[in-house]
């Protein structure tokens, strides 16, 4: 089976966010594989181990994204592709990313493409569904279980807490939700092997695209931090009195009851 994973590098969830010069400050920040993309990598490896084939991990990013691709290779993916847009794309949005991925996937004959259901940084959740539409293949978002039997695919997906069971077929794009699996940690031998696994680096020129082809259709005019919350009132006294005081505060001061 020809299995692909869309992967994005994101800030570590532990990171505090700072803004400088109208941009998110990323100097010295720790980066990780977007947690939802980790589920996609894990599931891709499991599908390959069950059905055979190869797992290719693809990212649209910068030079530094190699680190996250190597991590995916260390987990067990077979090869990686870094589409480096650092020099060509100044401002991009989901339209940009999908144009690039569409050009990449045009001749790939992917059986299944797995992605995270959302990235924890910009959180648009658009890239997977948009790409599937451009490739004219079905997609299923927020999956929590997948079972492939020949061309038939049975899926469970999370719909705001409900579980929806559905049937579809390959080729297919899915986006992964928490609960799908437990992503493995790369093993030491895995990390050693990853260094030798193929990692292809492309620029948009290699995909017959230039900057005009990937123009965004939205723009960001401002990035800012929410006002810092001041620590509130910790109540004192007997618990019974505190409870009474709390209810009264919520009613008359905060006016939320």
């Amino acid at each position: 089976m020809n299995i692909y994973v869309l992967l994005k590098k994101t800030f570590d969830t532990e990171e505090k966010i700072q803004v400088s010069g109208g941009k998110i400050e990323d100097d010295g920040a720790e980066f990780i594989i977007n947690p939802y993309d980790e589920y996609a990598v894990e599931e891709a490896i499991n599908l390959r181990d069950t059905h055979g084939g190869e797992v290719t991990v693809v990212t649209v990013g910068d030079e530094e994204s190699e680190q996250q691709l190597r991590t995916a290779l260390a987990m067990g993916a077979d090869q990686a592709v870094l589409i480096n847009t650092e020099d060509d794309v100044e401002e991009g949005d989901q339209v940009t990313t999908v144009k690039i991925l569409e050009a990449f996937f045009k001749d790939k004959e992917a059986d299944i493409i797995l992605a995270g259901n959302v990235a924890i940084d910009e959180a648009s959740g658009q890239v997977g569904p948009r790409l599937a539409d451009k490739l004219d293949i079905p997609y299923v978002t927020t999956i929590t279980a997948i079972n492939i039997d020949g061309e038939t695919v049975n899926i469970e997906r999370d719909v705001e807490g409900d579980v929806e069971k559905l049937e579809t077929s390959l080729p297919l794009l899915v986006t992964c939700q928490q609960g799908l699996n437990e992503p493995r940690y790369p093993s030491l031998p895995g990390i050693m092997k990853a260094k030798k696994k193929p990692l292809e680096e492309l620029e948009i020129d290699d995909l017959d695209l230039d900057e005009d082809d990937v123009e965004p259709k939205t723009k960001t005019t401002e990035i800012y931090l929410p006002p810092e919350k001041e620590a509130g009132k910790v109540l004192e006294g007997e618990i019974d009195d505190q409870v009474k005081e709390l209810v009264s505060l919520l009613k008359s001061e905060a006016k939320v009851l």
Partner: protein
């Protein structure tokens, strides 16, 4: 005059609140616009349409079809494209719900259009309209504009206030016949897990438990308090990882990002990942036996104490208030 489509969303035979919020958002983007409510359903289309008109829409277009009972990407795309082709709107507003998240990128792709998702407020109007959305799970915000094409946004439920219903409002309701075909996914079964209780993303009040709740049974007092308040129950990642509750209840950087009016953090220490998911709630109450817990730094009100003592007493007090 510009024209906006405001997409309604039905669930379990009722219109969700976010339907009225899409109408309000469209109106906010351009006060003088014609706001056309759009309803997809297998039944009751006309009554849903009239409800949206009472909440501020000028008229409505509906598609009623047995394949529109449950949301599926293909059926809803076909219905939506039929409406868009007929109406050729200047803008589209949809809820950032499970269905809206799944459908909106597909439509944006088909229209070759930009899409600003998960909008929590709107500034300016007309061509200058700017859309505010949380990024990094609410650790920061960005303002975005559409530079080309239709104004296409999804709005986070519970953030843009809907207009009050006005029973004297009326408008045309027209229905379109759509030949829904070539469905590539078939829903076999839906297991309702979330139906008991209030939907987290639309809840005005949330009672969330963390590791301090200690067990699945430990969530019982939280459920009782939630019932009294008409609140939804949520959880921290710690509680989900420990198996006390389902991942669908998880609030945080991975999990749901919520902005209720009132958030009770019960036995939650307040890891940065959890704060990202809830710190923009209007009022936060922390209940924790550890006075040093980080959650007290973002809480408006805190009680230091054993949750198994505090929560039942609080429930009684709230019951008396709601009496």
């Amino acid at each position: 005059m510009s024209k906006f489509l405001a997409f309604g969303e039905a669930r379990d035979g009722e219109l969700r609140n976010v339907s009225f919020e899409t109408v309000a958002a469209a109106r906010q983007i351009d006060e003088s616009s014609e706001v056309v409510a759009v309803v997809f359903t297998d039944a009751n289309a006309e009554s849903f349409a009239n409800e949206m008109i009472k909440h501020g829409a000028d008229r409505a277009v509906t598609v009623e079809h047995s394949d529109l009972k449950e949301y599926t990407t293909d059926a809803y795309t076909q219905a939506a494209m039929a409406v868009i082709e007929q109406e050729n709107p200047d803008g589209l507003v949809m809820g950032h719900t499970s269905a809206g998240k799944d459908l909106s990128p597909r439509l944006a792709s088909k229209l070759d259009n930009g899409l600003i998702s998960d909008v929590t407020s709107i500034e300016g109007s007309g061509d200058d309209a700017t859309f505010v959305r949380p990024i990094y799970s609410g650790k920061a915000f960005e303002k975005k504009q559409i530079t080309d094409g239709k104004t296409f946004i999804t709005i986070r439920p519970n953030n843009i206030p809907p207009q009050e219903a006005d029973d004297s409002r009326s408008g045309d309701v027209t229905s379109i016949d759509v030949d829904i075909k070539d469905l590539r996914t078939i829903i076999k079964e839906v297991i309702r897990k979330a139906s008991e209780g209030v939907d987290l993303s639309e809840a005005n009040i949330i009672v969330a438990g963390g590791r301090g709740v200690k067990s699945e049974e430990g969530f019982e007092p939280l459920h009782e308090m939630a019932d009294v308040l008409g609140a939804a129950v949520g959880a921290s990642r710690g509680a989900c990882d420990a198996g006390y509750c389902d991942y669908s209840l998880q609030i945080g950087q991975t999990g749901k990002v919520v902005t209720p009016d009132l958030y009770f953090a019960v036995g939650i220490s307040g890891a940065i990942q959890h704060l990202a998911g809830m710190s923009n709630s209007k009022v936060i109450v922390a209940i924790n036996k550890d006075p040093e817990a980080n959650i007290f730094n973002v809480a408006d009100y805190g009680i230091v104490g054993d949750l198994f003592d505090v929560v039942p007493k609080l429930t009684e007090e709230l019951k008396a208030l709601k009496g």
